[in-house]
Subunit: 149 residues, 2 copies
């Protein structure tokens, strides 16, 4: 997660919403990305999407069952959907985001009930962990939005 | 939608799941895309994503309020999220998809109720229309999956 935070700081340096992500395969970081919505003038250029695209390209594979994505902030619906298609083995996120995160639509504390009703938004085989370095991840976001006011 | 169907046929010619999309701005088709998951070895390379990326790039703008996306099949959760961020003016889709489409998670017939609870997955200003040339759009998909068996 420290490496994902480094990516988030790169976003911050470029006046982007400071979210960063890395993809790890075995012991190796195979891809990284930070939010580039402003730079690319593309509202879908989220850290996770950039990291996933780099991972596919690096591995030459369309699934990432053996990989872990670390991202500093809870994924949005788009990124959750992208992670679903990737069949990624594990997702670790830092700060929660009840405004733009997937938890606006799905209560992540209800995983078992949602899975039983086939309403869990992540891939059924993906392990989800949250709250890792959450304070640091959230502080970056708060500082950024404070600086805009 | 006929032009989106042409895109879907390009996907079919390349042994991809036959889904196509175009983005229209005024009277002009500014972007098009077809599913390229196999070609790019990228499980997120859906027709809508490719068309949106081309539209951002062509317009040099990160929002598409004045544009319409036509897509042959109901968007999945990832594409719905991407369309949310685009703030696109209008989405028209052909065939419904109760397996991979967003309606697996959200009952699209319940738009008003979902909007009131802030649980509508599309952007609140986006107009959604469905069922346009649905039979042709669905037939392409059925033929493709039949050919795989």
């Amino acid at each position: 997660m420290r490496k994902a935070l480094q990516q988030a700081r790169l976003a911050l340096d470029n006046n982007e919403v400071p979210i960063g992500a890395i993809v790890v395969h075995g012991d190796t970081v195979i891809a990284s990305g930070y939010n580039q919505v402003e730079l690319l003038k593309d509202s879908t250029a989220h850290a996770e999407i950039i990291a996933l695209t780099a991972a596919y390209s690096g591995l030459g594979a369309k699934y990432l069952m053996d990989a872990t994505l670390y991202v500093t902030v809870e994924p949005c619906m788009m990124c959750t959907g992208a992670l679903y298609w990737s069949k990624i083995g594990r997702i670790v996120f830092g700060a929660s985001d009840n405004r733009n995160g997937i938890s606006r639509f799905f209560d992540l504390r209800d995983a078992e009930a949602l899975k039983q009703r086939q309403q869990w938004p992540f891939h059924p085989k993906t392990i989800l962990e949250k709250g890792v370095l959450a304070t640091e991840c959230a502080a970056l976001m708060q500082d950024f939005f404070k600086s805009l006011r």
